[in-house]
């Protein structure tokens, strides 16, 4: 230590002596740094990658579909003010038959120009090449699907195009900005095996779907100052006579909306979690430094007396604070970077980008460091000012004895509370330092809250699974026809192998309006009293669909500012332009996006085109499901099939896999906070009360009895922290649930009692272990030394 000033030597020794407490604080800081780097780094990675990918592939900004629009409209669309590029396409759902896979996969078959690249939504070619002109059997497929099946350029597979089985040959593996998050019909999470996106030449698809000189899908990019709303309105006007289903922008684009919701969550995480850790570490630094300065009171007086300046003394303690913070930042930066790479590769599984690199830009680390230093110094300020303000003469005298209040003892004349004197000692000490007690309690409540906030997902997802798949959409599969058919088509479905029951439905794209508010939505109509697929009310009971009127999900109703009894202006996207006022008869409970329901009778009447059905929901005999799959793959009239049972299992599997990781992380974070708070609190109590506690030992109290003073004090705070933690946890969970909510899905706020209990048990366990580590020091108290000295 030569070369170090005297004060710096003291600093090194202080750190060595306080290493356990310092490390406990540094770990709490490390958690703050780690979560900050993780959240900011992942946010940046996703944002930057998304922007670069969208830019490179010219991802559309406005999207619309129609039933059949003449290609000549393209010029009209391009002429809309603010449109910079237009791509028209033929897009259709397909059923894909993969040899060796029993269940049919579904996919989107999308046209690309025969010559050159599309003006909007270009493909990113991973390997191979685009189809060659004059080769109608050539196609590219998206990477996720290719990887799931081990496809490489040159491999082949079968699809059902407009009822005809076609053998396609893969020329290339692609990525598409439209399918960064590729989710199949009826799915809640990507199932790479069962959902594929196939690109083929426009001329081939025009021929296959009888769409020569026409398109059914259009994407636009806009110039910088374009008025999005205006463009949408004009585009809708152009497409309306051709079955335009209403144009929408990126906010309503499935893939981008999922990315956005991920980003929203990351930003929320960056705003909520690191501040919790930084707040707690500031408090811990304050606690440690206050005690250290109290212990070093006389040394400080001496230093001042011999001429050290206040600034030198303040800087000395600030350096101690910064040294601890530096350890925290270092650990947090390493952990955050490692976890960030893990998170990026996890994202890689769900989001198909050409690359996804966890951002490690230096400023991220600089920001984290500065924020941590600032928090630590903020915590230290009060204590350091105390040292600065001490006049040297006063500092060299022992501090005035601590006064106490005579609560918890009862009156000395007769009545006394049933506390032992040891308990009274503990309780009075708690009350003597109310701010510290309150902050310690809060510091112990926060990990409880953090755990509840992460664990409640179990309850909510369980509830969602129960509601969606066991109460509402109870079908095993949903079969959608290539075109609407007469009602008796449901009998054909019922005759398919393995089908035990079938319920017809009709779906119509429509625009719902109320004043200036409007939404494009699918109206889903079924029989009034269905048993398979049901519409739920706010209490999760099945609703009997009324013969007239519309039911909207709560979120859709509030988007349109409608309440039951109001009239909804409904326009079906059938190109006829008829607008009808339909009463809103009820608000439904839905966790999946915006839904509108009617009885079939009502929708048939509304459309004015007789009784038609779009498909059927079926219950399947599990043992014969393979036969059904085989049949579906061979049935031309079925355009698409959603397998709800498979979706549910996939959803549960993905959820369980990911929640395991996040629970491990959150439990670790909670344990670290609890340890940081309780260990430090116990050490400081022990330091303040070593003399008292040693005296108790001298008088013949056992180690156990003496420890009880310490443990009672900690115990009261830890117990008080539980209900507080439950409350805060509930509040956080509510914020999280709100943050998740978007037009695609929402998470209900369900917290079951075991979640509270488990969160508390983890924290109680961690607190107990921390306290017991300190308790061992009581066994080693030096009884004789305390008798020789004054306080």
């Amino acid at each position: 230590m030569t070369g170090l000033s005297m004060l710096d030597r003291k600093l090194v020794r202080d750190l060595a002596r306080l290493w356990a407490q310092s490390l406990a604080v540094a770990l709490v800081m490390a958690c703050g740094v780690m979560t900050l780097i993780l959240a900011l780094g992942a946010t940046r990675a996703l944002e930057d990658t998304r922007a670069a990918f969208y830019d490179r592939t010219r991802f559309g900004q406005i999207f619309a579909s129609a039933t059949r629009a003449p290609e000549s409209l393209k010029a009209d669309i391009a002429a809309i003010d603010g449109v910079s590029a237009v791509a028209t396409r033929v897009v259709n759902p397909v059923i894909i038959d993969i040899t060796g896979m029993a269940e049919p996969a579904t996919g989107m078959l999308i046209s690309i120009p025969d010559q050159g690249e599309p003006a909007v939504n270009r493909l990113y070619l991973r390997s191979g090449r685009l189809p060659e002109p004059g080769r109608p059997d050539e196609a590219t497929i998206i990477e996720a699907f290719a990887e799931a099946h081990g496809f490489r350029p040159g491999d082949t597979f079968d699809v059902l195009i407009n009822g005809r089985k076609r053998h396609l040959s893969i020329t290339g593996i692609t990525l598409s900005p439209e399918y960064v998050y590729a989710i199949g019909p009826g799915d809640f999470v990507p199932d790479q095996k069962r959902f594929g996106v196939i690109h083929m030449h426009r001329s081939v698809l025009e021929g296959a779907y009888d769409m020569e000189g026409a398109f059914n899908d259009v994407s636009l990019t806009l110039s910088r100052n374009a008025n999005t709303k205006e463009v949408i309105a004009q585009l809708d006007a152009i497409l309306k006579p051709h079955g335009g289903a209403g144009a929408y922008d990126r906010t309503d684009h499935m893939s981008d909306a999922f990315l956005d919701s991920e980003l929203t969550q990351l930003r929320a995480m960056a705003q909520v979690i690191p501040p919790i850790f930084l707040f707690i570490s500031a408090f811990l630094v304050n606690m440690i430094l206050t005690r250290l300065i109290a212990l070093e009171r006389e040394q400080i007086g001496l230093l001042k007396a011999v001429g050290y300046t206040n600034a030198a003394i303040a800087w000395h303690y600030a350096k101690l604070t910064l040294a601890i913070s530096l350890v925290g930042v270092a650990i947090g930066a390493i952990a955050g970077t490692r976890l960030g790479h893990g998170m990026a590769s996890l994202y890689g599984e769900f989001y198909s980008f050409p690359f996804l690199v966890f951002s490690q830009e230096p400023d991220l680390y600089v920001i984290s460091m500065l924020v941590t230093f600032a928090a630590a110094l903020a915590g230290a300020t009060n204590a350091i000012l105390g040292a600065v303000r001490l006049p040297p003469a006063v500092a060299m005298r022992p501090p005035a004895p601590t006064g106490y209040h005579s609560i918890f003892g009862g009156s000395s004349s007769g009545f006394r509370l049933p506390f032992s004197q040891l308990t009274i000692m503990a309780l009075r000490h708690l009350v003597r330092w109310p701010v510290r007690t309150a902050l310690t309690t809060l510091g112990t409540a926060l990990p409880v809250a953090l755990l509840i906030t992460s664990l409640f997902a179990f309850d909510s997802i369980d509830h969602m699974i129960d509601t969606i798949w066991f109460r509402a959409d109870r079908q095993d599969a949903t079969l959608t026809f290539t075109a609407q058919r007469p009602e008796d088509a449901v009998r054909d479905v019922a005759r398919l192998p393995g089908v035990l029951a079938a319920e017809p439905f009709r779906a119509e794209a429509a625009t719902l309006r109320n004043g200036h508010r409007s939404r494009n939505i699918q109206i889903f109509a079924s029989d009034p009293e269905t048993d398979i697929g049901r519409v739920l009310d706010q209490d999760f009971g099945a609703i009997k669909l009324p013969p007239a009127g519309l039911l909207l999900s709560e979120r859709l109703a509030s988007h349109l500012d409608l309440k039951p009894g109001d009239q909804v202006d409904v326009e079906l996207s059938d190109g006829q332009g008829r607008r009808v006022l339909v009463p809103l008869v009820g608000v439904t409970n839905s966790y999946v996006g915006l839904t509108a329901n009617m009885s079939r009778e009502a929708l048939d009447r509304l459309s004015g085109q007789g009784v038609r059905i779009s498909g059927a929901r079926v219950i399947v005999d599990e043992s014969r499901i393979r036969d059904l799959y085989e049949e579906v793959k061979r049935t031309p009239a079925i355009a698409s099939v959603a397998l709800q049972g498979v979706s549910r299992k996939r959803f549960q599997a993905v959820f369980e896999e990911n929640i395991g990781i996040s629970i491990t992380i959150y439990v670790s974070l909670a344990v670290i906070i609890t340890f940081g708070v309780i260990y430090n609190s116990a050490r400081i109590q022990l330091s303040e009360r070593a003399r008292e506690l040693a005296s108790l030992r001298v008088f013949g109290f056992t180690n156990g009895e003496v420890s009880s003073v310490l443990l009672t004090e900690l115990g009261v705070m830890v117990v008080l922290a539980q209900p507080l933690g439950w409350l805060i946890g509930r509040g956080f969970s509510e914020l999280v649930a709100k943050g998740f909510e978007n037009d695609l899905f929402r998470i209900p706020l369900i917290i079951n009692p075991p979640t509270y209990a488990v969160s508390s048990l983890v924290v109680l366990g961690a607190a107990l272990v921390s306290a017991l580590i300190v308790r061992r020091r009581i066994d080693r108290l030096d009884l004789i030394r305390v008798l020789k000295t004054r306080d």
Binding site: P401, Q421, I424, R691, F699, G700
Partner: protein
Amino acid sequence: MAFNPGTASVRRMKPEADAPSQPVFAVSGLTKIYRTGDVEVRALNGVDLTLEAGEMAVLLGPSGSGKSTLLNIVGGLDRPTSGSVKFKGEELAGANDRQLTAYRRDHVGFVFQFYNLIPSLTAWENVALIAEIASDPMSPGDALALVGLESRMSHFPAQLSGGEQQRVAIARAIAKRPDVLLCDEPTGALDSATGIIVLEALARVNEETGATTAIITHNAGIRKIAHRVFTFLDGRIASSEINPIRVKPSEVSW
């Protein structure tokens, strides 16, 4: 104060006819060596002594001569390096931590120079603290009355003078009706008038409870209140003498 130390001492000093004549403490060949690195300090270097039931002993001697070390070993706070300490025939030298704790709890009352009161407990509560773990305690009020503090029961240590604090410490030490009362410089931090009040309290306790009392002091004048005086020098007892005439604390010249 209405008691006569002279007659009391005669009565207490005489072994009871029906009890076996056994000293409260029998110490023999006691040594205590402290090793710090290469340096070896012989704090006690072969001490032999006995203390009889009810006896009041004063321990004198220069600083560092081993008085506190002896008192701590006898009080079960420390263990000797070699030698034997018998309390009513029971060997303390080889006792483990649990046994020593129980011994202190059941038999020993301590009074120290710096009082060692619990700052968060009132005078009454400081005494009650010990009474709670004793098998046959006095009421805290009685113990405080014995040291003349009945009017200060609900004061916290921070609200009491040094002498009052020391008397609370004495009340606390005697509330359990200890067999022995060990006092290490009980008047060390007090002025003479306050010191006398404290000594009077000790003498009265010794008289009324019959606790064998040992008092370490640097004030040679205090020797006169004892039945017996031990003088320490370099870790040994240099002399031991019986006081022919005891005086009241109030007559001690400070």
